[in-house]
């Protein structure tokens, strides 16, 4: 029911507001998607924490306080303290920065590489398409996390290598999705008209085809950031990512699990943050897809 209503509106919107620019058009539709809208607000809040977090944390996230270890949530330690007496709230806020920078940069690298591969594959076809797609099939054959563990095992632990690992397994999905919309777009008349005026292949790919694939990329990007946060946390939890003493959410879970029976709050708050952040990115991605790319719904 709800979908029908939105689709009807979409047509009306486009017909009635011909002079409206694209962003306003998008915003008008997106604004009605309440869950996605609130997810966006939540993510914006997280981004504020990333930028300003170090100025608003009540305590230094790495400062131990041995006189106040494993205390339950209470004032002034709202989320309690961990086994070294460090403030969990401050650590969760500091962890936001790690989680978002790692996941966003990893997916960004994966998206750029995947988009280029997808455009090349879809546009040129023939053997180059086959080669790229078989390469993607190989990567798809590994479960994401196993592949990431493998890459980190080769490169050694550390956040930088986690970024590389996650970027690596995001490549094939971007390549595939960009390829499929490239195949669709390259048959359109405006691409032919660009060819007829003598435009170079590079120009056709980047000026005419690529802009048409952006909505799909945005949707996929958002959803993949959610997955990437989860993967980064998993790797850190396994001791393959961030240093265990750092305020990474996954590392906090890993360190806190020994105290889970007595001091549940040490794992509860980072776990909650992972859950909410991943959920927010997924819901935002869903909402964006409904608005930007109505064809691929369901």
């Amino acid at each position: 029911m709800e979908n029908k209503y939105v689709e009807m509106d979409l047509n009306e919107e486009i017909n009635s507001d011909k002079t409206e620019n694209r962003f306003l058009e998008f915003w008008k539709l997106f604004r009605r998607k309440k869950p996605a809208l609130y997810s966006l607000y939540f993510i914006l809040l997280l981004l504020v924490l990333v930028v300003a977090g170090q100025y608003i944390t009540p305590f230094d996230h790495s400062e131990p306080n041995y006189s106040n270890i494993l205390s339950s949530p209470s004032w002034p330690h709202v989320f309690g303290t961990d086994e070294y007496g460090r403030d969990v709230l401050s650590r969760v806020i500091a962890g936001t920065k790690i989680a978002l920078t790692v996941s966003i940069s990893a997916v960004l690298i994966g998206a750029i590489a995947g988009t280029i591969l997808g455009l090349v594959s879809g546009f040129f076809g023939k053997w180059i398409d086959k080669a790229i797609m078989r390469f993607c099939d190989i990567l798809f054959a590994f479960p994401d996390l196993i592949l990431a563990i493998g890459i980190v095992a080769i490169l050694g632990p550390g956040l930088q290598n986690v970024i590389i690992a996650i970027a690596f397994f995001s490549v094939p999905s971007f390549a595939r999705i960009v390829r499929s919309s490239t195949l669709e777009v390259k048959e359109l008349l405006f691409v032919e008209s660009a060819k007829s005026m003598g435009a170079s292949k590079r120009r056709i790919v980047f000026k005419h085809i690529f802009p048409e694939t952006i909505p799909v990329i945005i949707v996929y990007f958002t959803m993949n950031v959610g997955t990437a946060i989860l993967s980064a946390a998993s790797l850190s939890f396994l001791g393959l990512g961030a240093e265990l003493s750092s305020p990474d959410w996954g590392a906090m879970l890993s360190m806190g699990r020994d105290y889970i029976g007595t001091s549940f709050h040490i794992v509860f708050f980072p776990g909650l943050m992972i859950f909410l952040t991943v959920l927010a990115f997924n819901i935002l991605g869903d909402g964006l897809r409904d608005v930007l790319d109505p064809k691929t719904r369901d």
Binding site: F190, S193, A194, K195, S196
Partner: protein, 322 residues
């Protein structure tokens, strides 16, 4: 008036392979099959025929969007068939295409001004942007799109406006030949005449030559000097507009012309063709039209008719006149 030839097409053939079986195609669709015609400088050559007869393929072959299998396209004396892409481009500058569907032929995420100057970006990357925009402004003005709309996107315009934008774009390189592939077919009749009149005005102003491809005889009659009638990938009759409409020779042309409704002449005899257009992958032997021709003779089933000059500038490929 003696006019020099701009385009001469000789024996142009395009075969599209049909489904692959191992490495050999199952057969070919002969979309364009040994086409011969010339277009003189400054004239409008209309190409008519029913859908699937290869009109559009011909336009795309001349522009080099697809590569011909056989034959020659002489553009100002230079054969374009088999020319590498880099050299094609210097000829593409001199010929531009206008497409049928103005809703699809403009990049939806580019502003109008960027769309119109794109050919300049492609061919003259070093020209300063202000100069490009100046040219664009002039052309858009001529085509009836005011500067006020420059920063809009194609979806904000109507079909007729968009077609005028694509006409402005096709003119910005100052080309000699415009290939208009069903350029007005997607428009309302009232808008059609506006755009056609614009094309006629532009022809005078910019000294253009048109290859005007259409299935609509009245449109072609309005704009063309000479007309070629295509049937199954080949021209059956080429004549000046007056000759063709007053004195059609080929039975196919006659039936096409009799299908144009004319007010006040309801009892006019109509030649209604029987049967479907035969498949281009397996065309009939002899004259391709014999399966539907009311005057088919024995020879039509065996021999391909030669081009016969029945008059000055009136060529017909039919055994009736040999």
């Amino acid at each position: 008036m003696t006019q020099s030839t701009l385009i001469e097409v000789k024996g142009l053939t395009k075969k599209f392979p049909l489904g692959k079986k191992w490495f050999k195609p199952n057969g070919y669709v002969r979309a364009v099959d040994g086409l011969d015609f010339t277009i003189k400088k400054g004239e409008t050559f209309g190409l008519v025929g029913e859908s699937g007869c290869g009109k559009s393929t011909t336009g795309r072959l001349i522009n080099g969007l697809i590569e011909a299998n056989e034959g020659e396209i002489l553009f100002d004396g230079q054969n374009l068939v088999g020319l590498p892409d880099s050299q094609w481009n210097s000829y593409r500058k001199r010929m531009q295409m206008i497409f049928q569907d103005p809703f699809a032929s403009l990049s939806p995420r580019m502003k109008i001004k960027d769309i119109v100057i794109e050919p300049l970006d492609v061919h003259y990357p070093k020209m300063p942007k202000s100069e490009k925009l100046e040219k664009a402004e002039k052309l858009l003005e001529i085509c009836g799109i005011s500067k006020f709309h420059w920063n809009k996107y194609p979806h904000e315009f109507s079909g007729g406006q968009r077609q005028r934008i694509s006409i402005a774009r096709s003119l910005i390189l100052n080309p000699e030949l415009i290939i208009a592939d069903e350029a007005v077919s997607a428009l309302d009749v009232s808008i059609q005449s506006q755009v056609l009149n614009l094309l006629v005005d532009l022809q005078v102003e910019f000294d253009l030559t048109y290859l005007f491809i259409s299935h609509d005889l009245s449109v072609v009659e309005h704009i063309s000097n000479r007309i070629g009638v295509m049937y199954l990938g080949d021209l059956v009759e080429v004549a000046s507009k007056e000759q063709l409409f007053k004195n059609p020779k080929h039975p196919y042309t006659q039936s096409l012309l009799s299908s144009i409704p004319q007010p006040g002449k309801q009892d006019r005899e109509k030649i209604i063709l029987k049967g479907e257009i035969p498949s281009a992958s397996n065309p009939p032997k002899g004259c391709k039209f014999h399966t539907r021709c009311p005057f088919a003779m024995d020879i039509c089933r065996k021999e391909i008719p030669e081009n016969i000059h029945v008059d000055d500038d009136h060529v017909v490929a039919c055994h009736l006149y040999s």
